[in-house]
């Protein structure tokens, strides 16, 4: 099987990650932050190492690194903290993990939201569009690093600066860009970074991160045992405990640490540029094949994540992905949990098939993918 579904979760995982999970299950089987015996302390130390690695990658402090079960949980923690009578701005390419929580808040009468139009590769116009959407009660902007369907990157530095100039909190959905973009410097105006552990950071599924640089402005999503302040009825104020009720996913977090170390050694930008290069090659060649309709733009690193959206012939996105699957190629068809992005691009009736390149895809994988589509094209069009 050739795997081109890395925007959903990365596969395969680096051998360091697989080894880390094995070690976690064999050696770090006690509950961290609960007990004082040796294995609990050693496990807590491994979790702490993971916090430190994440804090380096995202320019934070170890205690501001909150482990979640996925990016959605991290985003929900930030969004559901919004005060009553507030206004939230999101972009027109946000994933449902942003759209649905803000919609829910609106349904409850807690907050209203606006969808700001974005302009591909035009930071100035996009910033102006967000600026126009600001109201007196705007408290939060939530913006994706890149569309999970069409790959266009949004001007996060400029938008977060705009937010801060207007006293608005800024939350980055780094679902598609953590491990692809270097967030270790230059993103000082981003207050919250939400990231999956299992995509570009190579960890196991069931892992996620909330980098909470303004923890005082958000509330926990879960309440329960933290191993601290045990005699108190309320959650401790201490970080990260306040946001981590319940037992942590220890094997997952240890796998994530190994994955993040791998990203550090490759460097996010170098890894990202290589993925973008392969993606650009596939894009260029796909465009030459009769019957292929491309919906995304040429994936340059600076402006795009390594995803390509297309369909073949009169097939829907789902049917195109099914055709590839019959030939041993894994890609995702349909609507990609992204109602807004598909509406924006006019693909909300047929959907698209998404090819998403990962760090371990090779030129040979690309040739196989192109070969399958080319031979299907010849059957129909020659």
């Amino acid at each position: 099987m050739v795997y081109f579904d890395n925007a959903a979760t990365s596969f395969p995982k680096p051998k360091e990650v697989i080894n880390a999970v094995n070690t976690a299950l064999l050696r770090y089987g006690a509950n961290p932050g609960r007990s004082g015996h040796e294995m609990s302390m050693e496990t807590a130390r491994e979790i702490f190492k993971a916090r430190e690695t994440a804090s380096e990658l995202f320019n934070s402090d170890a205690e501001n690194v909150v482990f979640t079960k996925n990016c959605t949980e991290a985003l929900n923690t930030v969004i559901m903290s919004t005060e009553k009578n507030s206004h939230i701005i999101i972009s027109d390419v946000e994933h449902n993990s942003v759209l649905r929580p803000v919609f829910e808040l609106e349904q409850r009468g807690t907050a209203e939201f606006s969808v700001a139009e974005t302009f591909e590769s035009d930071a100035e116009k996009t910033v102006k569009s967000f600026e126009k959407a600001i109201r007196g009660n705007t408290k939060l902007m939530v913006v994706t690093g890149a569309s999970n369907v069409f790959g266009m990157r949004l001007p996060i530095k400029e938008l977060s600066e705009l937010a801060h100039r207007n006293g608005i909190l800024f939350c980055l959905d780094a679902a598609q860009t953590a491990g692809y973009v270097d967030y270790s410097k230059g993103y000082d105006d981003v207050d919250f970074i939400c990231a999956p552990g299992h995509k570009g950071l190579f960890g196991m599924m069931g892992t996620g991160l909330l980098i909470a640089k303004k923890p005082e402005d958000i509330k926990p999503l879960l309440y329960g045992g933290t191993g601290s302040a045990s005699l108190e009825y309320s959650l401790p104020e201490e970080l990260p405990d306040k946001f981590e009720s319940g037992t942590l996913n220890v094997p997952g977090i240890i796998s994530l640490n190994a994955g993040m170390e791998k990203v550090k050694s490759l460097t996010a930008e170098k890894k990202g540029r290589e993925e973008a290069e392969l993606s650009a090659f596939i894009y260029s060649e796909l465009g030459k094949i009769d019957g292929v309709t491309l919906y995304s733009s040429y994936p340059r690193y600076e402006t795009h994540s390594p995803v390509i959206s297309f369909t073949f012939g009169d097939l829907s996105g789902e049917a195109t992905a099914r055709l590839l699957s019959e030939h041993g190629i894994a890609a995702r068809g349909g609507f990609h949990c992204s109602a807004l992005a598909h509406k924006k691009m006019g693909t909300d009736t047929r959907g698209t098939c998404r090819i998403s390149v990962g760090a371990f895809n090779t030129f040979e994988d690309a040739v196989k993918l192109l070969g399958v589509i080319f031979s299907e094209s010849k059957k129909v069009y020659s």
């Binding site: 932050g33 004082g36 702490f48 601290s228 401790p236 405990d241």
Partner: protein, 78 residues
């Protein structure tokens, strides 16, 4: 390594295992002998995690403060 046999040992009381480990690491990097253990009797603030370290109390507190590590209390070790 700072902290000869004539130096006093202290318990730095933390509010979470993460804070305790961050403090332990900060002190070790500065050359102090430090380690974390759990004792809810010594640290009644909840989590029970304590950093035990040998050396000048004020100097160690300064290191912790400079790293932004919140300490709930300091006691001389028994």
């Amino acid at each position: 390594m700072i902290g000869g046999f004539y130096m006093k040992e202290y318990y730095f009381l933390s509010g979470s295992v993460t804070t305790a480990m961050k403090g332990e690491e900060a002190l070790r990097r500065a050359g102090y002998r430090a380690y974390v253990f759990k004792d809810e009797k010594i640290n009644p603030y909840g989590c029970g995690y304590v950093i035990k370290a040998k050396g000048d109390k004020d100097a160690m507190l300064n290191i912790l403060k400079n790293r932004g590590i919140k300490i709930r209390g300091v006691e001389e070790a028994e």
